[in-house]
Subunit: 76 residues, 6 copies
């Protein structure tokens, strides 16, 4: 994990904000399970598990709420 | 996934905002499981699973909170 | 599903707002599982499943947060 | 369920707000499962199920967020 | 449960706010399962169950959001 | 657990805010299960459990929402 992976919540577009939310979920997983081999196995499992896919979406949604608020919802 | 699928959170009506929230959930799933064949199988499963249907609703609700705030709740 | 089922988030009372939140959950389920027969079977199952009943309540609560904010919490 | 069970989100104290949040959870359950006998059986089950007890707490917390915001957090 | 257990959401420090959030979770559990003996058994179970421990954390986080907002995040 | 582990929600950067959110989750777990040996066993389990890893991410996301709001999203 890069030393400096989250220097700002501001993005140019909602889509970049969404990508940031996805990155934030992945980083949380890395901070809990540091071993990339174990993470690789887990990803193979949950990629085929509807419940896990939906659960990941829930976390993305929560981070996107934060990022969107930070950007004032990208209103002009 | 289109290169530019989320250019704005602003919609004309709450209903269009709700549709956008549904799209955002689907995109999160695509970003986690890129293979459309696997996604198709999963959809067949969770479409008949009450727990999964409810879980999907949870994520839609979270994204709708964001979209609604972005639109100032479509107050006139 | 009616073409125009969500034209506003504004309601006269908190209770009507709560009813709207329930409607929003039901619509999310419909958008994921379009077949009313399958939905009917699922409802029979989750109506007797404490976990599912509680999970539905969670989604209602999330939508009610949105509706309540839209209505400035019905403060006079 | 009384016809008029949620006429306001305003309460005098945080504790009354908390009680209102609990009421809102119970009402959501009633709206999903109308039969009091079935609800009674379910309550007997989830009252002894740690996961269900915690899940109920989650919904109470979500409604309390709404009620607390409505009351400006009971700041004087 | 004391008659008057939640008279204010205001605390002097974030840490006291966190403690209050924990108290609010415990109280929700008490309101659902009034029997302390049953609660004791459940606590023994979920104290050794990773999923339940995480679930409790979720509810604490939700209440802490409310308490933190009430205190304007303890900004000076 | 240090006596004074949460004296402020303010951090210099989003990344430090994220680290604080992770700390808040760990503290909630400690307050529910005080025995470090039991926590160690549980961590070994959920570190290899995709569902638990995702669930931890959910709680981190909730606390990060709070911390980010406290810091006005680190907007300059």
């Amino acid at each position: 994990m890069a030393d400096n992976w989250l220097s700002t919540l501001l993005t140019d577009t909602p889509q970049e904000g969404y990508d940031l939310a996805v990155l934030m979920v992945r980083t949380a997983v890395k901070m809990t399970q540091a071993d990339p081999a174990v993470r690789g196995e887990l990803r193979a499992v949950y990629g085929k598990d509807a419940d896990a896919l939906i659960a990941v979406s829930t976390v993305v949604a929560a981070h996107f709420q934060t990022v969107a608020a930070a950007n004032n919802y990208w209103r002009v």
